[in-house]
């Protein structure tokens, strides 16, 4: 059977570096059951017979923190065959404090004193033999970073585990009377605990450790007898039992290190490098600007419009996974003879888009004219082979335009007349300079123009540079070649591959965020972030580190939720995960941009208002959650080490980032992929499993199902299948809300998608609204729809990582329910109160909205729960 070696030590002792060095690529990262504390397993040097298990970094085996309880439980119940205790040689006093506790467990132990390279550089000397003798274990000096001695120490632990030899007797670190009391306790519990760990249990009982006393089932009478001994010690030493144990441990260590360590005189009086860095980065005046600068750097790297993260994401989605991409620096003007000769690729695409829309609009107009007066059976469905010249000559498609992808409105005219460029250079709007720049570009298409437009073929990207086809395009081409039917092709390409592409599309941004976070964590700055921001955030129940996920969240909620991992305290971490996605992310910004263009042209502040609502929800939600039963209780102590700064290694950062990415792809991908395929499926098929496609979305299962749940949305003003379908499909990716709206609104009157959507919201206005207010209420409904979609649970990918980071299904559902509640109440309040102001009377739902708001206010402002009784 494989032997298990537990890797235990303080945070920042170099445990992770050693674990990575020992296990290489054979590691597995997960959560301990039911909690979000990280659990890492790996094979020692790839040997399947030796498993290394990394315990959370801990300072003690007290029952108070989650990490410590998890570690205790593992050490006592799972019984590893040996412990490899890693100790920071530059900070040995506090590190040995944990070692004295580990030694009492009676598990064979090897101590690895890490960072020996730094110890030597400092000129300090450590007497390993003396420490080993005092603690009853073998001690070796290592440097995990320089790959010195770590493997040897681990192999020593492995052979110790295999030999099954009894560990040396646990050190007696306590004074006479305490040892006496411990001996009494040992006598009482003999036979009830594994004999090798009896000393550990006895000391815990002496400390009155509630968990151990409960687990061992020590009765009141029995405890009363033991209490006598404990009280005698407390009286004699004038302190409580827990303090006696801690004090005496540290005294023992102080004596030991006084003899075993020779500190170089030179170092004692010199300010360390860390201290000098801290003088700047935690400086009263400079700290906040430096922090903001660090955030800006991450923002730019990961999610800024022209930053590397966005460029990589666009490349991944549109290029690598989509149609294809040009190899950088090979692009050139079109060299092939033909209509596009001398053009850049983008310009050629623009020209083709115009020709294409001219062609299809004219064809529409022709069909309409040709079908005039014909009975239903004889009507033309598509363009005939032979165009009736006589009819064609009279057909003119008027007001043709190219739609803007985001807003669905006609794109503005671009021109480069000299006057215009002069105005532009002066930084002013070029409207009104006489050449029509900036105004919607509309044109008419007659038969001659149609014939000309029909001659244009889509530009071939390989004429403009070295073109690499994307995976999506390759799959499409392969399916075409194989000659499969339309339904199968759609299933494979849009459904299955679409699901995979959704999962993979987030990889670049997650990668960059974690590369940066790993750097901040590994170098030691992250602890300073908590130090600097703690004051501000703890008021609403969050940690100083919660700021980072929220800033990342402005760009994308998925890495934001995952970034919460840097928060040690589980309660703070869960709260941050629930709240971080309320900040409107990049995809939600697309919704805001569209609605701002369609409905809120005069209300320029609407986008900023959404950010303000997001921040308000985070602050008030934090306050409310903190007072709720789920998060109530004693405030977690904020007693935190500020580790020495050091330069992180590339390998360390890379591994850190890679484990996160792998976790995302394997674990979150397993939820996202089927969910994406399912949503795609109900959008594209009807209940008879016929492919209906984009144009037939009104016949899709989504539309039917939307009709079933529409009544739920009635109090928000858009309780129709269109409103429901758009909101549900937005769970694939938030910007899908606008695309679906465009599709479901297509049968409304109007010439552009924008006009369709405006009319759709117009049709939602209830009858009680007087004629003069109809336009205002349509806007109000649009606002309600937008707010609902921004503040309900984020897209599926973000929900999947939320479930993963919350550590349990119950917590995941709690997060989703909370977010759904917030989004619903916000939208309902806006709509119902707006309706009241616009002349509809005080109805049932007005009352419901007021009650819901009062409930929220009560949740925020009610007195805090009393801290759990101690």
């Amino acid at each position: 059977m494989a032997v298990k070696i537990a890797l235990a030590g303080n945070p920042n002792s170099g445990k992770t570096t050693l674990f990575n060095a020992l296990t290489g690529s054979s590691q597995y990262v997960g959560n301990w059951p039911g909690v979000t504390v990280e659990k890492k397993d790996g094979l020692l040097g790839g040997d399947p017979e030796t498993v290394v298990q990394d315990l959370p970094g801990i300072y003690s085996l007290s029952p108070y923190s989650l990490e410590e309880r998890v570690s205790r439980k593992y050490l006592v119940e799972e019984k590893p065959d040996a412990i490899l205790n890693i100790v920071d040689g530059t900070n040995i006093e506090r590190n040995l404090y944990l070692s004295t506790q580990l030694a009492e467990l009676g598990i064979p132990m090897v101590m690895a004193v890490n960072m020996m390279d730094v110890v030597r550089k400092n000129g300090d000397k450590i007497d390993f033999a003396r420490i080993g003798k005092a603690l009853g274990c073998e001690v070796a000096g290592i440097s995990a970073l320089k790959k010195e001695g770590g493997m040897e120490a681990a192999l020593k632990a492995a052979s110790l585990a295999r030999s099954g030899g009894k560990p040396k007797e646990a050190p007696h670190v306590f004074s006479g009377s305490v040892e006496h009391a411990i001996a009494h306790i040992e006598e009482t519990i003999q036979g009830r605990v594994p004999s090798r760990s009896i000393r550990w249990f006895a000391i815990k009982i002496f400390e009155r450790d509630r968990e151990v006393i409960k687990d061992l089932g020590i009765g009141v009478g029995e405890m009363k007898h033991l209490e006598e001994h404990i009280r005698d010690c407390e009286k004699e030493l004038d302190d409580d039992a827990e303090s006696i144990i801690t004090n005496q441990r540290y005294e023992f260590i102080k004596n030991l290190t006084g003899n075993a360590i020779a500190r170089s005189e030179a170092r004692k009086n010199r300010a360390s490098l860390s201290d000098r860095i801290d003088r700047i980065v935690t400086n009263r005046i400079l700290a906040l600007p430096i922090f903001v600068l660090a955030l800006c750097a991450m923002w730019w790297l990961a999610v800024a419009e022209n930053g590397p993260g966005t460029i990589l994401t666009d490349w991944a989605n549109d290029g690598f996974l989509g149609d294809g991409w040009h190899v950088p620096f090979t692009t050139h003007e079109c060299a092939a003879d033909g209509k596009y000769k001398g053009m850049e690729f983008e310009d050629a695409q623009g020209v083709f888009a115009r020709k294409d829309v001219s062609k299809s609009k004219w064809e529409e107009a022709y069909l309409e004219k040709a079908n005039e007066g014909k009975p239903d059976g004889e009507k033309l469905e598509e363009m005939p082979e032979e165009i009736d010249e006589a009819v064609a000559k009279t057909v003119v498609a008027k007001g043709v335009f190219v739609e803007d992808e985001e807003t669905g409105e006609p794109v503005a005219k671009e021109c480069d007349c000299e006057k215009c460029s002069a105005v532009r250079e002066a930084g002013e709007e070029c409207e009104g300079c006489g050449c029509g720049c900036g105004e919607p570009e509309l044109w008419d298409v007659d038969y001659a123009a149609y014939k000309e437009a029909a001659e244009w073929e889509e530009p071939d990207p390989s004429d403009f540079g070295v073109w690499v086809p994307g995976i999506g395009a390759l799959i499409g081409a392969g399916l075409e070649k194989a000659g499969v039917g339309e339904t199968v092709a759609s299933l494979v390409n849009d459904g299955a591959w679409g699901g995979v592409a959704t999962v993979l599309g987030f990889v670049p941004v997650i990668f960059i965020v974690f590369l940066f976070l790993a750097f901040l964590e590994d170098c030691g700055y992250m602890a300073r972030v908590a130090f600097i921001m703690d004051r501000l955030f703890r008021k609403f129940g969050l940690s100083g580190k919660s700021f980072i996920p929220m800033i990342v969240g402005k760009g994308c909620g998925v890495p934001a939720v995952m970034a919460a991992r840097t928060i040690e305290n589980e309660r703070d971490r869960r709260m941050t995960v629930i709240l971080a996605t309320f900040i409107p992310c990049g995809a939600k910004t697309v919704i805001i941009a569209m609605f701002a263009a369609l409905f809120f042209r005069e209300q320029w502040w609407i986008a900023a208002l959404m950010d303000v609502i997001g921040i308000a929800v985070i602050v008030l939600g934090g306050v409310a959650l903190k007072k709720s039963r789920a998060f109530a209780g004693e405030a977690a102590p904020f007693v935190m080490e500020l580790p020495a700064y050091h330069m992180p290694t590339l390998g360390g950062i890379w591994r850190h980032t890679w484990t996160r990415l792998k976790g995302y792809m394997l674990k979150a991908g397993l939820i996202i992929f089927p969910a994406c395929v399912f949503l795609w499926f109900i959008m594209n098929f009807d209940f008879k499993f016929n492919l209906v496609g984009e144009e037939g979305i009104d016949r899709s299962m989504l539309a039917t199902m939307g009709g079933w749940i529409a009544w739920l949305l009635a109090p928000l003003g858009f309780g129709t299948w269109q409103g429901a379908a758009a909101s549900v499909s937005a769970e694939i990716a938030k910007e899908q809300a606008t695309a679906t709206l465009g599709l479901v609104a297509a049968n409304m009157d109007g010439v552009s998608t924008a006009a369709h959507i405006t009319n759709l919201f117009g049709s939602f206005v209830p009858a009680c609204v007087p004629e003069v207010s109809k336009a205002a209420v349509a806007k109000l409904t649009a606002l309600s729809f937008m707010v609902f979609n921004l503040f309900i649970p984020p897209c599926m990918v973000a929900i999947a990582v939320t479930f993963r980071e919350m550590g349990s299904k119950a917590w995941g559902w709690f997060a989703v329910a909370f977010q759904l509640f917030v989004g619903y109440v916000l939208a309902m309040s806006i709509y119902q109160i707006g309706l009241l102001a616009n002349g509809c009377g005080f109805g049932f739902w007005t009352g419901a909205a007021v009650l819901a708001d009062l409930f929220c206010l009560w949740m925020v402002f009610r007195p805090a729960r009393k801290a759990a009784a101690e």
């Binding site: 108070y64 404090y97 977690a636 007693v639």
Partner: protein
């Protein structure tokens, strides 16, 4: 005098720890026990928490927690 009242740059020994439960245990686990010398390094830009040096390493704690640590002298 408590640790919360000490000025940055000053140092003193711990006389007594008040309170009980998780916070007190955590403070002790981090090496702040009776007789330990603590030097106050600096206060965070927003006025809380404080950074101290204890047993040769840097530790930050909130003023609420520092107020539970009584110092000698």
């Amino acid at each position: 005098m408590t640790l919360a009242e000490m000025r940055p740059g000053s140092a003193a020994k711990v006389a007594r720890l008040r309170g009980e439960g998780a916070v007190k245990r955590r403070i002790m686990d981090m090496g702040i026990t009776k007789g330990t010398e603590i030097a106050v390094r600096r206060v965070a830009p927003l006025g809380d928490p404080v950074e101290v040096t204890v047993r040769g390493y840097e530790l930050s704690l909130r003023k609420d927690e520092a107020a539970k640590i009584e110092m000698e002298g």
